[in-house]
């Protein structure tokens, strides 16, 4: 059924014992195989990328490593001896630790208290030895030159610093294998560099890092070897120095990709939206820009530079404040999302789980959510109209789902994002606001989203896209407005934009 696993001679036989060697992992849920052939080998002092699209079996594989799931078959060697984990604490006891995608620190406690949570050093009468704990934590943090004080409160740290604390915590357990699942998904580029420096230190100390990320350029920057899973099975492993990005994409997707981005739109002269002197929450001030028919405009900037706040203000989610918004030549007063929708706007938010999808609902309910009034006669819903609309979007956007009655929570990230897009396309918008539209989406689905953006602009719509990924901005945008500290720091058009200029303006 799947392609026979190939193995490249990446390592000689004289290498030391691997930290971890998994072979023949199998796992099914309710008879549906999630992992058919999991195979992985982690050497000391290496950063190993685990690649694959959504549904490739990566998370199932990692959950087996962490003792959350039990494998149906397969062997796992840790430093050469076979191990079986019944629960996560056993995995941790064997030196396997994970930095989760969504971190869960105790915000009101200090860094040291978080690191030693549940195993605080105690003194007389069970009193916590705060001084000893703080100095131990500080030594740990300083060993990495994290520049974080052990006695500062967790809630005062940035997301990046929180992640660094998690790494320190993992090491306080003497972890040798550290799994990082999309560690940069919540980081800006400057913050990510801090994390990469920490990873380099881990490597130098002979630890092994399993690195999971959808951002391929990042993988080439951080990792030295790779293993690709596809459709629940091992495909290939090797060193990254031997391959290029296109090859890796091809392995992940399973077919050759001509180009990563799709851009066939051409901006027209007609102005669809113009914003003048706009202010918004979190210090956004005096923002002005215009958007033309057929155009893809990027809003670029670091985390917290005010990009999302501009979208919230345009869509009527935050209180009206200074500034004018003109849509199609007419001044627009938008105080509620309903008014924004009526004015032809659609907003794909940054966090689809928090504000995009109703995860308790099915695909059809989510697709129809913003257009219920068009699918009802008076107060009574027309189920047939709902079904037709849902079927149309599933077809147009190529949403892979067993049925429109399947709960959206069961879809992959890319297909969930397409459901959100479909919901908005049903409102027949003229202007799409997309906030990090490809975050947490695999390479194949990314391309489909780029296709959708390009087609939408070509058909006479216009797109504003917030993105933290310079590649994406350079690949898709006709023009980019760069934000810094809530203000417009500059504007570049397609001819003049480059990664250096973007970073220079943003930081």
């Amino acid at each position: 059924m799947y392609r026979r696993a190939r193995r490249r001679p990446a390592w000689g036989d004289d290498m030391t014992t691997p930290l971890l060697e998994a072979s023949g992992f199998r796992k099914s849920f309710d008879g549906v195989p999630a992992l058919k052939l999991g195979q992985f080998r982690l050497e000391p002092g290496s950063v190993h990328a685990l690649c694959g699209g959504n549904g490739a079996g990566k998370s199932t594989f990692l959950k087996i490593l962490m003792g959350i799931h039990h494998r149906d078959a397969g062997t796992l060697l840790r430093n050469g001896s076979e191990v079986v984990f019944d629960n996560p604490s056993q995995a941790l006891a064997h030196g396997i630790s994970i930095i989760e995608q969504e971190l869960s620190p105790v915000p009101a406690m200090t860094v040291a208290e978080n690191i030693y949570l549940g195993r605080e050093p105690v003194g007389l009468f069970g009193r916590i030895a705060f001084r000893a704990m703080n100095s131990r934590a500080q030594a740990l943090l300083d060993g990495f030159q994290f520049g974080i004080r052990a006695d500062s409160l967790m809630m005062d740290l940035t997301v990046a610093q929180t992640q660094l604390v998690e790494i320190a915590k993992a090491l306080s357990y003497d972890a040798e294998v550290i799994i990082m699942d999309e560690p940069t998904s919540a980081l800006g580029e400057a913050e990510a560099d801090q994390l990469f420096a920490a990873i380099a230190t881990l490597k130098a100390r002979g630890k092994g890092v399993i690195y999971v990320s959808h951002r391929l350029s990042e993988i080439f920057g951080v990792c030295d070897s790779y293993t690709v899973f596809r459709d629940g099975a091992f495909v290939e492993t090797g060193t990254l120095a031997d391959i290029d990005k296109d090859h890796l994409i091809q392995l992940v997707v399973g077919r050759p990709l001509t180009e990563e981005f799709i851009k066939e739109n051409t901006p027209q002269a007609r102005e669809l939206l113009s914003v003048a002197g706009l202010s918004a929450d979190r210090g956004v001030q005096d923002v002005s820009f215009a958007l033309h028919e057929g155009e893809i405009l990027a809003l670029y900037g670091l985390m917290g530079s005010g990009r999302t706040e501009i979208f919230d203000r345009l869509f009527g989610l935050s209180a009206e404040s200074a500034g004018t918004v003109t849509i199609d030549g007419r001044p627009a007063q938008i105080a509620t999302p309903r008014q924004a929708i009526d004015a032809g706007l659609a907003y794909v938010t940054e966090d689809r789980k928090r504000s995009g999808l109703v995860l308790t609902g099915d695909v059809r309910e989510n697709l129809c959510l913003a257009t219920l009034d068009r699918m009802s006669a008076g107060p009574v819903m027309n189920a047939r109209a709902e079904g037709r609309a849902a079927a149309r979007m599933i077809e147009t956007l190529n949403i892979r789902t067993a049925s429109d009655r399947l709960n959206v929570a069961h879809l992959s990230g890319g297909n969930q994002q397409k459901v959100v897009l479909g919901k908005w396309f049903l409102t027949e918008p003229r202007i799409l606001l997309l906030d990090e539209p490809t975050r947490g989406v695999d390479v194949g689905a990314k391309r489909e989203i780029y296709r959708v953006m390009s087609d939408f602009a070509r058909a006479g719509g216009a797109v504003i896209m917030v993105s933290s990924e310079t590649d994406e901005v350079l690949g898709m945008a006709d023009r980019v407005v760069v934000m810094r500290d809530g203000r417009v720091a500059g504007e570049l058009d397609r001819a003049t934009m480059s990664a250096e200029k973007l970073l220079h303006l943003a930081a």
């Binding site: 008879g31 999302p337 109703v358 308790t360 959510l369 913003a370 919901k423």
Partner: protein, 335 residues
């Protein structure tokens, strides 16, 4: 080609899983059926039409309250005030239907339509007040309706002077004691409320809104739904249904008692939870709630028939509620 074969195979394999889920969805119905079978074996009085009608009549008040509660809980809320609203609506509407000389509404008793209208308005108004606090002023539902629980009880005592409102007209009493073609009016009202609510929640735009707001209020807001109006409405609905329940109770008793309805909210919440509606919002069905209410009703009846003391009944009911939620939880973690 390869992909298609795989998906088809996957779908085939998913069928047993789906049956498993359906079994859980109907698990509560199966539990009710089993309970009925056991009771009809151990007690010859259980499976008589008189007893069945009796159970249904006793269930109708809690059932109607629980249906209102379902609307509220579907939006991630809770309505603790329904018991107090039952009492308040009882005394207020009864004061328009009493033949007692001590009545304080001039011109009473009025024809039944007047006290019924007054009762509905009173109940809806109380719910609407809670709704304003929750929807407009973002007071947590638990706190807002806890306040109403106390305030409505106080209003009841003030309005009635702490005394029952006795001697209600026969016309008014019909809603609690009358029957149509042998079926008691409370059961008919219960059935009507159920049918209408089921229709609203499954077939109307408002119903879609309720599920969306409970499932994810942020997404609902971004999608242009009138989140505040929806939140407000569910409390008004719960109040209105509490009003109907209050009038049935007063009409059946023959006089409206100011201490009526104490702790009724707990049975209503229990029925909703046993019926599979998630306290986290967005998931649940009125059918489940009705079955949950029937399960509580049948259990009370069965324990009565078996001569179990009411003290023990409370313990058993408590255990049942927790067991139902435990089942629900274990199913969710398996997913």
């Amino acid at each position: 080609m390869e992909d298609q074969t795989k998906t088809a195979a996957q779908q085939r394999r998913m069928i047993p899983a789906r049956i498993g889920r359906d079994a859980q969805r109907y698990g509560i119905l199966i539990a009710l059926a089993l309970l009925c079978i056991v009771l009809s074996i151990v007690s010859e009085n259980f499976l008589t039409s008189r007893n069945i009608i009796n159970v249904l009549r006793q269930t109708s008040i809690n059932g109607i309250l629980a249906i209102g509660m379902t609307f509220v809980i579907l939006t991630r809320g809770i309505d603790l005030s329904v018991g107090s609203v039952v009492a308040l609506v009882g005394v207020v509407s009864a004061s328009f239907a009493t033949t007692s000389a001590a009545g304080f509404i001039p011109g009473a008793p009025y024809m039944p339509l007047i006290p019924i209208a007054v009762g509905l308005i009173t109940g809806t108004a109380m719910g609407a007040l809670s709704g304003v606090a929750v929807a407009r002023f973002a007071v947590p539902a638990f706190v807002a309706t806890l306040g109403m629980l106390s305030a409505a009880r106080g209003l009841t005592l003030i309005y009635s002077g702490g005394r029952p409102v006795p001697a209600l007209t026969d016309g008014y009493r019909w809603i609690g004691t009358g029957d149509v073609a042998g079926i008691p009016v409370p059961i008919i009202l219960f059935a009507l409320v159920f049918a209408l609510s089921h229709f609203v929640l499954t077939r109307t735009r408002f119903g879609r809104h309720v599920y969306a707001v409970g499932g994810n209020p942020h997404a609902a807001k971004v999608s242009g739904l009138p989140v505040r109006a929806i939140r407000f409405s569910v409390y008004a609905i719960s109040g209105a249904l509490a009003g109907i329940a209050g009038m049935i109770l007063a009409a059946r008793t023959g006089s409206a008692l100011p201490q009526a309805g104490v702790a009724y909210e707990l049975d209503a919440i229990a029925a909703v939870v046993i019926g599979g509606t998630s306290l986290a919002g967005g998931v649940g069905r009125v059918t489940g709630t009705v079955i949950g209410a029937l399960l509580i009703g049948v259990m009370n009846n069965g324990l009565d028939l078996l001569g179990v003391e009411s003290y023990y009944q409370q313990v058993i009911k408590g255990a049942l509620i927790v067991a139902a939620v435990m089942l629900d939880r274990s199913r969710k973690t398996e997913d």
